[in-house]
Symmetry: C2
Subunit: 379 residues, 2 copies
């Protein structure tokens, strides 16, 4: 009777009724019935994206939405700015280079966030910059960027602001319209509590004008095709029907709960997890001023093998958390607060972390992590 | 208690136990557990593809696999050959043009198949041709190409043969290795009886050498990344986990039944459908020498509105068939034989077609279509 609890930053725990929707008999996509699903999905997404912009659906993982943003906005030789403070920031740079654009890379120490003033400086130096690519929540480090401050700077220029919100949307605040974010990329298998395979991006009018001018080769990612299909409540290619249908169920929960309440609740889960880590004598990887509520990256003591910790928690006890990526491999664990989980799931995860840390020889008083989190949850 | 029967050429009817697999709690993709799924899926796909080549998984619709083939094989200015005898043949040309390659288009009358000698002629004229793009089953017309004969020609040249088998694989024969097909593209929501959102392509060594030389911009579709991930039983980007898990269930059925038996059975369903159409005094759209067992395209009498026919069958009676595409809109209906259906589903579809044709004023003796199909099924 082993548990299968995902405290991983994607995929995340799927609600039972959304699982049931995924198992429903399939319907055809070129029908009024499925058009109702598209309409409902778009309206719900606009609510979570906090935008009135058009939102396009892509049958792909989150990287597909990121690639669509890059190859539709930039032409070869175009200048762009990317921020690298982790694996997903690096993806923006890789994408720009794959399309022969010229990204100026802001390198940020992992665990810290970009200083918006640095973006302003680069935009002042190169006002021909076509786009600025940033990350809402850097999944590899547990850092959240100050998108509001960045947007304030970028919107005064001709550059388009693109935010990778794949792992942040619906979990931490991203006020697309109020802040003025041109393109927000997200995907199904993080905050939206669905399997991977569906990506979405919202596109502002400012961004769309740049999209029309791009000379890059593109077909499946061509957002001009997406815009045309959007107008007809359709998708340019066969959509991920099953996930779109289930998305409608998942979005009902966002509406029922209210986005602000959801964000506050995820904040509480994160705060409890942070309190637990500290009580266990472990330090948090991300700096305090940019620590994210999406996931908590916890630095491990040198004599604890992070790989073994993650493997034992998952294979022996059925609780999945993530290890470190890149140079952080084996050195941190990452506990996600996204998806269909509550405070008891976090307590379960911390309890299992305590059990496994003990087994691996780390010294602490059993129970202090769980108790610290409980204090937060019962405050 | 309205039926929801899909006799459409994608999506197709999903077996109940595969639906149940889609509704299972999700598992994480970077785990030994999911690696077992990948391994099982690849082995099963190799059985259905009839190949020992590597097969790459993409989280996308079938067009993603087609785009991956084009953008990995061709560089701007490269010569290619495409065959247009329907909507999906046209997609090859569009993709080549999107990537600034130079396709020589063989235009074929809709309802007929390409003459392989025409491909030989063009290859002789332009031996520098990089790739030949053809369609196994042209879904818009119900025509099957003679891939064996085409492969015989192309394998004597330096060109790579790419087959769009999105809607044909597992339904009509495609002997990838025996015939010598370099790249076979397919997707989850046709013969494989799954929701859309997962595409796959098999790649020969000959094709991979060309892939390595392409200068096209690509990232998500980059098959060099796929090859590297394949070696590690992984995928370069987050896979469509749910569909991969369900694919393992669907592939069990292919193995249990045996590919040859399955193909023979689909042939019987197609033959019954054709007999029914003829008995109803309707003509088949595809020519006899290239008629496909994947779906049957039936030409409608001039005074029958094809759009209304499809809508009534679907919205009033719960039986989905497809209408015509492009210039065939309203003029044909297409009844698919793919997916989890048997002879009784075909009889149901024909019975519903008869009911609706009567309502729309077409004159015939009620029951002759069903009886003709029954004769085939009971022979």
């Amino acid at each position: 009777m082993k548990r299968n609890l995902l405290l991983t930053p994607g995929p995340t725990q799927i609600p039972a009724d959304v699982c049931a929707a995924l198992g429903r008999p399939i319907i055809h996509h070129r029908t009024p019935q499925f058009q109702d699903n598209i309409k409902e999905a778009i309206e719900g997404l606009q609510y979570v994206f906090q935008t009135k912009n058009e939102i396009y659906l892509l049958a792909s993982s989150g990287t597909g939405a990121m690639e669509a943003a890059v190859c539709n906005l930039l032409s070869p030789g175009d200048k762009a700015i990317t921020v690298e403070g982790g694996k997903f920031g690096e993806r923006w740079t890789e994408l720009c280079k794959a399309y022969n654009a010229e990204p100026t890379v802001i390198e940020v120490e992992w665990g810290t966030a970009v200083d918006p003033a640095k973006i302003k400086e680069l935009l002042d130096q190169a006002p021909e910059t076509k786009a600025v690519f940033v990350t809402l929540n850097e999944t590899s480090t547990g850092v959240v960027s100050d998108i509001e401050a960045i947007a304030k700077i970028v919107k005064e220029t001709s550059a388009v602001l693109v935010v990778d919100a794949v792992s942040g949307l619906g979990v931490v605040d991203c006020q697309t319209d109020k802040w003025g974010v041109d393109i927000v990329c997200s995907a199904s298998h993080k905050g939206f509590m669905l399997p991977p395979g569906l990506a979405f991006l919202s596109v502002s009018d400012k961004a769309y004008k740049v999209i029309e001018a791009s000379t890059n080769a593109r077909y499946y990612w061509d957002l001009r095709k997406s815009k045309k299909a959007f107008a007809a409540t359709d998708t340019p290619f066969t959509p991920a029907i099953g996930i779109v249908v289930a998305l409608c169920e998942s979005l009902k929960k966002f509406k029922a709960e209210g986005i602000d309440n959801l964000l506050a609740n995820y904040g509480r889960l994160a705060e409890g997890t942070r309190a637990a880590a500290r009580a266990l004598g472990l330090s948090l990887f991300a700096k305090d001023d940019c620590i994210s509520n999406v996931l908590t990256a916890i630095s491990l003591p040198e004599d604890v093998d992070g790989g073994k910790l993650v493997k034992t928690m998952r294979d022996t006890y059925g609780i999945s958390v993530a290890g470190g990526q890149g140079h952080l491999k084996g050195k941190i664990i990452r506990i996600s607060h996204m998806g269909c989980i509550d405070e008891y799931d976090i307590l379960t995860g911390i309890s299992c972390l305590e059990k496994t840390l003990k087994e691996l020889g780390y010294k602490f008083e059993l129970g202090v992590g769980v108790a610290a989190a409980q204090k937060v949850f019962n405050a």
